[in-house]
Each structure stands twice: as structure tokens, then as C-alpha cells.
């Protein structure tokens, strides 16, 4: 299976051509085709992962037979296989779960909607498997364009959010391209492996440093690193429910993955800490982000906005892991990519389910949903516990490895901030759990306007549990956070450690 690398994005691309046509003539076929394409891509990712783990060697594929650096090479190593498997797997569950919400939100434009979903995923998987710096840019733009359009469907507020997202996202992409230009002009190649070799031989100079700075600024924009996160809260809050449960878990993760890629296969070891203060900046901004995000999430009343800020917080932790840049730190970051994708996927799906079943997304209106939507609430509880990082859920272990990696480097304040941010996330997440299960919830000390009667209305509003095709994928994601938490050593030892 020498072609495996290209076979991961290919089903998605191919289906995205068919789906708009199907939308015109056979709207019923749109959803099955899309799911089949995502499933096929997920299967290919799983296969690639199995092959890489078994063989211990990266899979390389060059289209047209032009060996790199002349042509473009696709590389699936341990890390790439792991990340594609995570994003396609989570995407598969989310796409299935979001069917009903999408049918409503894409009303009449189902073909277009699903085509863009597929293109989004194709772009993301493409970014992961490619071994060429410029090719990353092209795929990044594909996924971003699709994401902008999908967010744009989210009502009046979603439109402005999407426009701002477009501007900032494109700036991010352009900065990345600018950084690539600097690297290209100093080395003459675009292939990552080749670039690593040449940068290792060359004397450090300002251009390379500037290239790194621009690339990381661009990627920081894509992965919503504070203070470049400004697009994220609005985009996640106002996007259609079906869309934000898809983009929130995976979109920013791929930005983070490209950062990891820069550390492991583009820049020589230590370069990004000694020659350019990228590591230091990532750690500082990541810590700031993890605290700021959690703090901001505490003040939110809209469940999705709260989850969005929680993403800012978690992505901050991810950035810290990347910034530490030891194999353990990167492994912690990648493990967190998986864990956070699972947890956020589950949580945003519950937010979707609550909006569909009970018509609410205001945290204060959720009172009593624990009884009327038991499955959704249970998934939320598991996801929240994982997010806080209580063992043995997956969320605990990424923080665990992150802590160990931080201590290893003598970064004690990192440990302190990581622990503190878990506590802060406990504050806002348990507040929601209280609302769900402990009706009638008391007035929360949050200001004079937060009167006790604000909690009441949802009591008699009709709320039905979502059907099985929504709850089952959700439950699978929640289950996965526990199972993969317990089995994290397998992931660490079989996949991440050999890859780093």
C-alpha cells in the first residue's frame, strides 16, 4: 500500500465533487455519500497508522514519480498517521451525529453544505500528510475557505463572525506563506526533510529566524493562540451547531500539528529555542492563554461561547507542550490533540443536542435537563470531568505528561499554571453540571442582574432526548475519552514515542 498517504485525502476530494451534483438531483444520497467518504478516509488513516506502527517506517509517496525535492512528497509517519486517524475518526462520529442539525441548518443547500464539509476535511488531512511546506499552505487555504463558508451559515451574528474569521484566517495563512518564503530563499527547497537537513548544515541567520517567527505567527493565528485568538469565540459561538461541533474539535488541532511538524521535521533540534525565542513565546503565550481562556469561560452564559473559551484555554496548554519541545512535551501535546478532539467533540455535540432537543444554549436555562435528556447530560458530565482532568479520563493524562515534561525542563511555574487552569475549568464546567442535574439551581453569585428567577423558564419548556443517531456517536466519544485514557500507555509507547 504504497499509495496510502494520498488515499487519505483522496476519498474526501472525490466525494466533494460528487456531492454538489447529488444535492441537485438526489438530495437523499448526499449524506450517505459523505459519510462513506469520511469513513473510507478514516479507514485509510487507520490502515496507515497500523502499517506505520507495524513497520516502524514512514510511508512516503511521490506523485508523478518526481523524487523530492523536485516534486512533492507525501509522508505519513507515526505522528501524521496518528493525527489523521484522530481527526477523521472524530469527524466521522461528528458528521453522523450532526445529521439532523445539518439538515435543518443547511436547509435546501445540503449538497453544497456537505461538499464544503468534505473539502474542509480534505484540506485538513492534506495538511497533515503532505511533506512540502508550500503544499501545506494550499491545503490550509482549502480547509479555511470551507470553514469560513460553513461558519457563515450561522445566522446574522455568524455572518460577521465568518467575515472576521476570513480576514484573520487569511492573514494567518499569509504570514505562514511569508515565513515559507524566508526559509525558501535561504535554503532553496520546500521539502520538509530536505529543509531540515539544509538548515542543520547552515549557519543560523536572521532570515531563518524571521521565517520561523512568521510561520509561527501564522500558525498561532490558525490555532487561536492568545492573543491571536480573537476570531475564535465568535466563530465558535455563532456557527451552526452542526458546524462548530465539527470544526471546534479538529480545525485548530491541525494548526497545532503543523507547529509540531515544524519542531520535529523542519527546524533542527534546539533551533527554535536557542536561535529564535519561539519555544519561550509558545510557553508564555500558552500559559497566558490557558489561564485567560478559563477565566473568560467562567464569565460566559452561552454554553457554546463557554466551550469556545475553554478551547482557547486547552489550546494554550497544547502550545505549552509544543513549546517545551522535548519528545515528552511534544508527545504530551499530541496526546492532548487527541484527547481534546474527543472531549470537545463530545461537548459541542451535547451543546448541539441541547439546542435541538430543548432549544436552549444559555447555561442558566439548562436547569433540569439531566432528567429530561439523560444521555446528553451524561455525556456532558463525562466530557467535563475529562476536561478538568480527573483520572483516569484521557484529559488527565495529557496534563500528566505535560506536567512531567515541564518539571523535566525545570519549568515549575508551568506546572503551577497547568494545575491552576484545571481548577478554573472545574469551576465553569461543574457549574453547568449543577444546572443539568441539580434543579432547581440556586442563583449564582455573578452580579446583581443574575436574579434567581432567571433559572426557571426551562422547567416547563418541552425537552426531548435526542434520537439514538445523535446520542450514540456522542456516547462513543465520551467512552473513548475514558478508554483511551486508560490505554494511553499504548498510544504513547506504540505511536508517539517511536515517532518523536
Amino acid at each position: 500500500m504504497e499509495q496510502l498517504p494520498i488515499l487519505i485525502p483522496l476519498p474526501l476530494l472525490a466525494a466533494s465533487l460528487v456531492v454538489p451534483l447529488a444535492g441537485l438531483w438526489a438530495p437523499r444520497a448526499v449524506f450517505p455519500i459523505s459519510v462513506a467518504a469520511v469513513a473510507l478516509s478514516a479507514a485509510m488513516s487507520a490502515l496507515a497508522l497500523a502499517e506505520v506502527v507495524a513497520g516502524g517506517e514512514a510511508l512516503r509517496y511521490t506523485l508523478g514519480g518526481w523524487a523530492p525535492p523536485i516534486g512533492i512528497e507525501y509522508v505519513v509517519d507515526h505522528v501524521a498517521a496518528f493525527v489523521t486517524a484522530v481527526i477523521t475518526g472524530v469527524a466521522l462520529l461528528v458528521v453522523v451525529a450532526a445529521r439532523r442539525a445539518a439538515a435543518r441548518e443547511a436547509a435546501g443547500r445540503r449538497g453544497l453544505f456537505y461538499a464544503l464539509v468534505l473539502l474542509l476535511l480534505a484540506g485538513l488531512t492534506g495538511m497533515v500528510v503532505t511533506g512540502d511546506l508550500f503544499n501545506v499552505f494550499v491545503f490550509m487555504e482549502i480547509s479555511s475557505l470551507a470553514a469560513y463558508a460553513l461558519v457563515f451559515r450561522g445566522g446574522r451574528a455568524g455572518m460577521l463572525a465568518a467575515y472576521r474569521y476570513l480576514i484573520l484566517g487569511t492573514v494567518g495563512g499569509s504570514f505562514y506563506l511569508l515565513g515559507v518564503a524566508f526559509l525558501y530563499f535561504t535554503t532553496g527547497t520546500l521539502n520538509m526533510t530536505d529543509m531540515a537537513r539544509l538548515l542543520g548544515e547552515a549557519e543560523p541567520n536572521i532570515s531563518v529566524a524571521a521565517g520561523a517567527a512568521f510561520i509561527f505567527a501564522g500558525l498561532g493565528m490558525k490555532m487561536a493562540l492568545v492573543p491571536l485568538h480573537l476570531w475564535l469565540p465568535d466563530a465558535y459561538t455563532f456557527a451552526p451547531s452542526s458546524v462548530n461541533s465539527l470544526i471546534a474539535p479538529i480545525m485548530t488541532k491541525v494548526g497545532a500539528y503543523v507547529m509540531v511538524r515544524m519542531f520535529i521535521s523542519v527546524f533542527p533540534e534546539g533551533y527554535l529555542a536557542d536561535e529564535v525565542p519561539v519555544s519561550q513565546a509558545l510557553i508564555a503565550l500558552g500559559l497566558a492563554g490557558s489561564v485567560y481562556g478559563a477565566y473568560a469561560a467562567m464569565g460566559q452564559r452561552d454554553l457554546r461561547r463557554m466551550l469556545a473559551y475553554s478551547s482557547v484555554s486547552q489550546l494554550g496548554l497544547l502550545a505549552v507542550g509544543i513549546g517545551i519541545a522535548t519528545p515528552l512535551g511534544l508527545a504530551a501535546a499530541l496526546l492532548h490533540v487527541m484527547n481534546h478532539a474527543l472531549m470537545k467533540g463530545a461537548l459541542f455535540l451535547t451543546a448541539m443536542s441541547m439546542r435541538m432537543g430543548a432549544g436552549v444554549s444559555d447555561v442558566r436555562m439548562l436547569a433540569g435537563l439531566g432528567r429530561r435528556m439523560p444521555a446528553t447530560s451524561a455525556v456532558f458530565a463525562v466530557g467535563a470531568v475529562a476536561m478538568v482532568g480527573i483520572p483516569p479520563t484521557a484529559g488527565f493524562f495529557s496534563k500528566w505528561y505535560l506536567s512531567i515534561a515541564a518539571i523535566d525542563e525545570g519549568l515549575w511555574f508551568v506546572l503551577a499554571v497547568v494545575l491552576a487552569s484545571s481548577l478554573l475549568s472545574a469551576v465553569y464546567l461543574f457549574r453547568v453540571i449543577e444546572r443539568l442535574y441539580l434543579a432547581p439551581a440556586p442563583a449564582i453569585a455573578g452580579g446583581a442582574d443574575d436574579a434567581p428567577n432567571a433559572a426557571a423558564p426551562a422547567q416547563d419548556a418541552p425537552a426531548r432526548e435526542s434520537p439514538l443517531d445523535v446520542t450514540l456517536p456522542m456516547a462513543l466519544l465520551a467512552l473513548a475519552t475514558i478508554v483511551l485514557g486508560v490505554l494511553n500507555v499504548v498510544v504513547m509507547e506504540r505511536v508517539l514515542e517511536p515517532g518523536l
Binding site: 476530494l13 466533494s16 465533487l17 454538489p20 438530495p27 506523485l63 508523478g64 518526481w66 525535492p69 523536485i70 516534486g71 512533492i72 439538515a103 436547509a107 435546501g108 443547500r109 445540503r110 453544497l112 453544505f113 461538499a115 464544503l116 473539502l119 480534505a122 484540506g123 492534506g126 503532505t130 512540502d132 508550500f134 503544499n135 494550499v138 491545503f139 487555504e141 482549502i142 475557505l145 470551507a146 469560513y148 463558508a149 460553513l150 457563515f152 451559515r153 511569508l178 524566508f182 525558501y184 530563499f185 535561504t186 535554503t187 532553496g188 527547497t189 520546500l190 539544509l198 541567520n205 536572521i206 532570515s207 531563518v208 529566524a209 524571521a210 517567527a213 512568521f214
Partner: protein
């Protein structure tokens, strides 16, 4: 906000100019970019592909993934614009 934007704009410009000091001079024939991969394209295009426009050759063959991606970008943009302009009143 405007002051912030102004600072950021000046910062970008300054950063870029400061960063470019180590770049090869304009038109420097010894620049690495001109001497590593690029000559291969010029020197082998005849035998590999057999057309005269090197740019087209690279575009269509050596780096055809980029071209594929480019097409997909246009396609995506088209779909995106259609979805954005679609009126939401219609239901299935």
C-alpha cells in the same frame, strides 16, 4: 484600536525589513534558491517533459499537487460563495 492597528502595521513593516537583512541581495546569482532545486528544472525540462515553458512544466508536472490544490481552491471558493449567497428561506 486604531492605535493598536497602527502599531501592529508599523511593527510588521519593521520586523520584515529587519528580518530581510540576511536575505540574498536583489538579483544575487549566488542565492541558494537559484542554485539548489531550480537549475534541475531548467536543465532537465527538455528530457523530462519536453516543453519549452519551464513554469508550465513545473506547474503541470513536477509540482502537479499544487495545481490540483489550486483547482480545489477555486472549486471550494465557488461552493463557498454559492452557499453564502443562497437564500435560507428554501426548505426541502
Amino acid at each position: 484600536m486604531r492605535l493598536f492597528a497602527l502599531a501592529l502595521a508599523l511593527g510588521t513593516a519593521a520586523l520584515f525589513i529587519a528580518a530581510s537583512v540576511d536575505l540574498p541581495d536583489r538579483g544575487d546569482p549566488d542565492a541558494p534558491a537559484s542554485n539548489y532545486v531550480a537549475p534541475y528544472y531548467v536543465e532537465h525540462v527538455e528530457e523530462d517533459i519536453g516543453i519549452e515553458n519551464v513554469v508550465s512544466a513545473v506547474l503541470a508536472d513536477y509540482r502537479s499537487y499544487d495545481t490540483l490544490g489550486e483547482t480545489v481552491v477555486i472549486f471550494t471558493a465557488g461552493l463557498a460563495a454559492l452557499l453564502a449567497l443562497a437564500r435560507r428561506e428554501r426548505h426541502e
